[in-house]
Symmetry: D2
Subunit: 142 residues, 4 copies
């Protein structure tokens, strides 16, 4: 929500510059266009949920970051975005050691909101999760 963003927010980074937490998780953007963003996440041991599979929170972080990156790639420099809601369905576990792949495509790109769909697949190509994200477009101030 724009009204709650700290006033000291730094200038918006470019779309291909990933935020600290995305880097720490290990998310890597492999394709960045306004119509499609792709990425990879290696399911390292530390990302596990205690059953030898990738933690759902890591999957949602991966997808959320794809959608934020994709929205930013559609905005002029003086606009930013924030996720206002997202919905995840999980279909199959991703074993630790595999590489998760994600692709994010637009469902709607309006002036006020953009809605994206991310598909996360595992090593064997099986669909692991689908996420639909609504991103608010935050206009320039001043």
């Amino acid at each position: 929500m724009n009204e709650t963003r700290p006033m000291s927010a730094p200038r918006r980074p470019p779309a291909d510059e990933q935020p600290p937490w995305a880097k720490r998780v290990g998310i890597r953007i492999t394709l960045l266009t306004p119509e499609r963003v792709e990425g990879e996440l290696i399911a390292r041991d530390e990302l596990g949920n205690g059953y030898g599979i990738l933690h759902g929170g890591a999957i949602m972080t991966f997808a959320d970051n794809l959608a934020g990156t994709a929205t930013t790639a559609n905005l002029p420099d003086h606009q930013t975005t924030t996720t206002i809601e997202s919905k995840t369905n999980f279909f199959a576990a991703i074993p630790v050691g595999e590489t998760a792949r994600g692709e994010c495509v637009p469902l709607h790109r309006g002036r006020t909101t953009m809605v994206w769909q991310s598909r996360i697949t595992r090593g064997d190509g099986r669909l692991a999760a689908i996420v639909i994200h609504t991103q608010m477009v935050i206009p320039a101030r001043g």
Copy 2:
């Protein structure tokens, strides 16, 4: 999904033993009962989204972990759980440096699924996010 869980899954840890990724993120469980789970997450620099606020993925990881912990606290030792879907609404940003607090309460506790609602608040008590989670109950095998 039970059909995709690795066959080598270790015995289920107790509800109060947090998974590797939850520990790495820094989630701390402060209350654990079958009717209510509470926790804390300090919004450290590394959990930021590049605008000086807590990354949405970290918030969803926090909430997802509360719901998994809460479900496990309602299951006998031979049953486990997996999140099949969750929905997050974000209302207010949590500045880096603050402590996010989360509480998770049941909406439905059935034999097949449990549905939980997590509320994440920030330092000033304002509601930052609400998450509704559906957890599948995975019966014993063998």
Copy 3:
């Protein structure tokens, strides 16, 4: 989405005037304040799903209408609203013949969006469904 609303849209009706489809379904508003809207829906035979219970679509129509009514009750005359997304969890069936009751309360009331939560209960007081709705606030035009 405002950009797709027909240009011939009539002047906004007052919050207590229900739309044609809500009236046809049989939704009745029993309390209307900016902080809380309540309503009733009798589960008539024609609203059934073929198993003797209220159709999920009727429940979602009921809830959607509560959220639209509640948003309108918070807007000045020259602003309208549209639902941009909603999420429903169903917990218990409502048998045909019973009266469903709904209550809708705010989770967030901002200038751009409002988010509401509707609880639908059945005759015995059991929670039948929860819906979270995001309503876009559509500003006046020029």
Copy 4:
């Protein structure tokens, strides 16, 4: 939820027999296969929301019915289904007078749950709404 379904539930109707409420709304199934269900809904005046456009509740009823029909088409005679949750994103209004078209395809077809995605388009082919539905498979009793 199976535990709350009335004991007097009639034998499951075949997938191509639509429930009372779907018929009353005017939903027409135009393609019915286990891999894909399609349908149509004419946006009659009575289905309007007071602004000359199709009520969101009618759209969700349409989609919910597609998903129920699709699940039933994948089940043996002695099994039934119920929607446990669904998520709708609305992108564009459907003016009264147009014909809405819907298509529903599977995201996951498991033994316990099936997850479907419905796309609702308006007369000009523009995407009006997307719905993701989780259907519980209810096993035979007795």
